[in-house]
Amino acid sequence: MPLTPFSRPVLAALASLTLAAPGAAAAQWTTSDDESAWGMDVSLILEGIYYNELSHGNDSPAGFDDGHDHGHGNGDDHGLDDGFNLGHSELGFQARLGDLLDATVIIEFDDQDIEVDEAYLTTRALPGGLQLKAGKFLSDIGYINNRHPHEWDFVNRPLVNEYLFGDHGLLEKGVQATWLAPTATYTQLGVELLQGETSGIANYEGSQSSLNDQDRILRDRSGPRLVTAFAKIGPDLGPDHAAQFGVSGGYARSYQVTDEHSTRFEDWDGSAWFAGLDAVYKYSAGRAYGHGDWRLQGEYFYREIDVDRRDVNFEADGNGPVGFVRNEQSFKNQQDGIYVQGVYGFAPRWEAGLRAEALGLSNDVGRGDGESFGTSYRHTAQVTFRPVEPVFLRAQLSQNDFVDDHGDRDRGLEFLLQLNVALGAHGAHRF
C-alpha cells in the first residue's frame, strides 16, 4: 500500500515508539500476589427505551442533508419506533497484557444488529508520559465524542456531534499518540491518524465506474485520510471543584459524496476540516448519593467542506446522453453547532438536567448558487433516578425546533423513557 506523504513521518515516529516499548519492559517487577495474568473484565450494559413522538416537526435540520446517513425509519429520533425499543446495549471486554498493554473490545447490539463498536490496544508502559492507542476507537476530540450512550446525561447524542461527525460520533480505525505533561496542571496533547470514513467529516466513496467512457471525479484514495489533534487542560481546583477545557481540530484530505438523482450522479470530491472547543465543570457537594452535585458541559464545533462538484448522466435526458457532464463547480460548506448542558442532583439519587442546542449558527452551503440556511434548535429536559448505582431510569422531553430548506420552522415534541442497567465489572467513572 503506498503510504501517503503526510502520514510517513508520523508513522515512523509511532513505529519507533512501539519498538522501544519491549526494551523498557525488561525491568518487569515480579509480584507475589495471585493477580491473574489474563485478568479479563466483562461488563454488560442493557438499555431499553420507550419513545413517544407527541408532535411531529421538521425531520432534519436544513443544510445538513448531505453526507448524513438517512438509513433510519421516518425521520424520528434515530430509528426509534413509537413505543418500546431496545436501545444501545453493549458487551464490553477489557484485558491486560501484564502492565504493557490494555486491550478493550466493545460490542454494541440492538435487536437486529451486532457490531464491533470499539476494539483497541492501549500502551501502559511507554516512558515520558506517552501513550499509544491502535485499533478502532472513538476519537478523543471534544468531550462527549469518546463516551458511550450509557455515560451521557441525556438519552440522545448532541446534534453537533451527530451532524458534524456521524451517528456514532467520530469513530475510526487508526492510531493515536497522546502525551501527558509532567505539570501540576493536567495538560494532555494528542494526535490521531485515522482511516477517514466518518460520514460528516471524511465521507469516502472511492472510485466509481465511468459512464459511456466518461470518467467520474471520484477516485480511490488510500488511508489514512483523516488527521486530528487535541489538547486538554484540567486545573486542580481543590476537593469541591473540577474542570477540564479542550481544543481540538482535524483535517480530512478526502471528502467524497455521491448522490443519485433521476438521470445523473452528483459527485463531490475535495477535503474538509473542523475545529472546536469543549469545557466541563463539576461541583461535588460532598453529600451522599450525588445530592447537591453540579455538572456543566458545553462544546462548539465548526466544519468546512471544500469540494469540486461534477454531475454525470447515467441516463439520457433533456440535457444530454449518458455520460453527459454538467454542474461543474467548486464550493464550500461552512457550518457549525453548539450545545450547553447542566445537570443538578436535586435529591439523593435524583438528578435533573437541561440542554440547549443550536445547529448551523453559520450554515452556508455553496452548492449551486449557494445558500445560507437558518439555524435549527433543540431544547431538552431530563430527570434521572438511580435506585442503586448500576441502574438508572431517565425521563426526557425534547423539543425540536428545526428549520427546513425553505426557511420554515416546525416544532416537534418527543418523550423518551430510558432504563439502563450495568452488570459485571465496575465501569470506571471517567471525568
Binding site: W29, P127, G128, L180, R349
Partner: protein, 308 residues
C-alpha cells in the same frame, strides 16, 4: 481539476512537526529523583506514608477525607498527580475501583502500574474481614476480596505500615533502615493507643452503623455491631428496614455511628425510637495529617462510646 497539492502541504508539515515534538519528548530527562513522590488514595494511607517517609517523601492525598472514597471521578488533577508519582498507595479490595483504574491509565506513568514496585495495595498485605456484599444479593457492588474499610482498624494499619516501609525501602534503598525504624515506631504507637482506648470504653458495647465502613471497630474496641442503617451496602435506609431495626433492638442500649458524609435521617430515627445516642464521625483524618492526626481520630471514635 483533481486533488489540490497546496492543501496537502500544510498538514504534512504539521504532522512532521508533531512527530518531531513527540520524539523530542521521549528524550526529555525524567524529573529529579531526590525525594520519594507518593500519591495516596485516602488520607489514612497518606498519614502512614508521611510518618514513615518524613522529610524524604512528598505525599499527596487524592480522596478528600470527608467524601465517600467509592464515589469519585477520575479527575484530571488526579492524573496529573499520578503522572509525577514514584509511588501510588491504594486501599484496594474494590474501594477505589470506580475511579482509580481510569486515573492510573490516564496517568501514563509506568512506575505506578499494577504489578510495579511503585504500586502498593494495602489490602494485599493483610487478612480482610468478610464483606456483607460477598454473602448478600448482588446489588452491583461486590467486594469479593473482603471488607475494604480497614482504615478504621489501627492493628491492621500497623501491619500495613511495616509492609509499606519495606516497599519504600525497595524504592529508596539509601533510606530503607530509616523508613523501617519509623514504621516500627508507628506500629507500636498504633497498637499502644488502640489498647489504651479499648481499656477506657465500657465493655460489651452494642453499636449500629450506617454502612460496613465501621465494622473494623470490632477488631480493637469492645464493641459488637448489632445492625446497619442500610438494608444492603450501597442502598439507602428504607423506612421498613429502620422499623424492623427498631423492633429488633427495642429495650436494649447502644450507640449509632455513621460517617459525616452519610445522611443523618436513619440515625435520628433510631435515636427517637430507641433512645440511643447517635454520632456522625469522620472515617479518615484530615488530608494533611501524619500519624498524630490518625491517633486523634481513634480517640474521637472511642469517645463516642460510654466510658468504663
Amino acid at each position: 481539476m483533481s486533488y489540490r497539492k497546496t492543501r496537502v502541504r500544510m498538514p504534512r508539515a504539521l504532522a512532521a512537526l508533531a512527530s518531531l515534538v513527540l520524539l523530542g519528548l521521549l528524550l526529555l530527562p525524567s524529573q529529579a529523583a531526590a525525594g520519594l513522590n507518593i500519591v495516596a488514595t485516602t488520607s489514612t494511607l497518606g498519614a502512614l506514608a508521611r510518618e514513615i517517609g518524613g522529610d524524604e517523601t512528598e505525599v499527596r492525598v487524592l480522596a478528600p477525607p470527608d467524601r465517600d472514597a467509592h464515589d469519585l471521578d477520575a479527575r484530571p488533577s488526579f492524573m496529573a498527580a499520578l503522572r509525577r508519582a514514584d509511588m501510588l498507595l491504594e486501599i484496594g479490595a474494590g474501594l477505589e475501583e470506580g475511579w482509580l483504574p481510569a486515573a492510573q491509565r490516564g496517568a501514563r506513568n509506568r512506575a505506578i502500574n499494577s504489578g510495579q514496585p511503585g504500586h502498593f495495595r494495602a489490602a494485599d498485605m493483610i487478612e480482610l474481614r468478610r464483606s456483607i456484599t460477598m454473602d448478600g444479593p448482588n446489588m452491583g457492588h461486590v467486594h469479593e476480596e473482603g471488607n475494604p474499610h480497614f482504615n478504621t482498624d489501627p492493628l491492621r494499619l500497623a501491619d500495613i505500615a511495616l509492609a509499606l516501609a519495606e516497599r519504600m525501602g525497595d524504592l529508596r534503598p539509601d533510606h530503607a533502615a530509616t523508613f523501617m525504624e519509623r514504621a516500627e515506631r508507628t506500629a507500636e504507637r498504633l497498637r499502644d493507643h488502640a489498647k489504651a482506648l479499648a481499656a477506657q470504653v465500657a465493655p460489651d458495647q452494642r453499636i449500629v452503623v450506617y454502612h460496613e465502613d465501621l465494622d473494623y471497630l470490632e477488631e480493637w474496641l469492645p464493641v459488637d455491631i448489632v445492625g446497619y442503617l442500610e438494608p444492603a451496602p450501597g442502598i439507602p435506609p428504607t423506612a421498613r428496614h429502620l422499623r424492623s431495626l427498631v423492633s429488633d433492638l427495642e429495650g436494649t442500649e447502644g450507640t449509632v455511628l455513621y460517617a459525616a458524609f452519610q445522611p443523618a435521617r436513619g440515625a435520628e430515627f433510631l435515636e427517637r425510637n430507641l433512645g440511643w445516642t447517635s454520632h456522625a464521625v469522620p472515617l479518615d483524618p484530615p488530608a494533611d495529617s501524619s500519624l498524630d492526626g490518625y491517633l486523634e481520630l481513634m480517640t474521637t471514635w472511642a469517645e463516642t462510646l460510654p466510658r468504663q
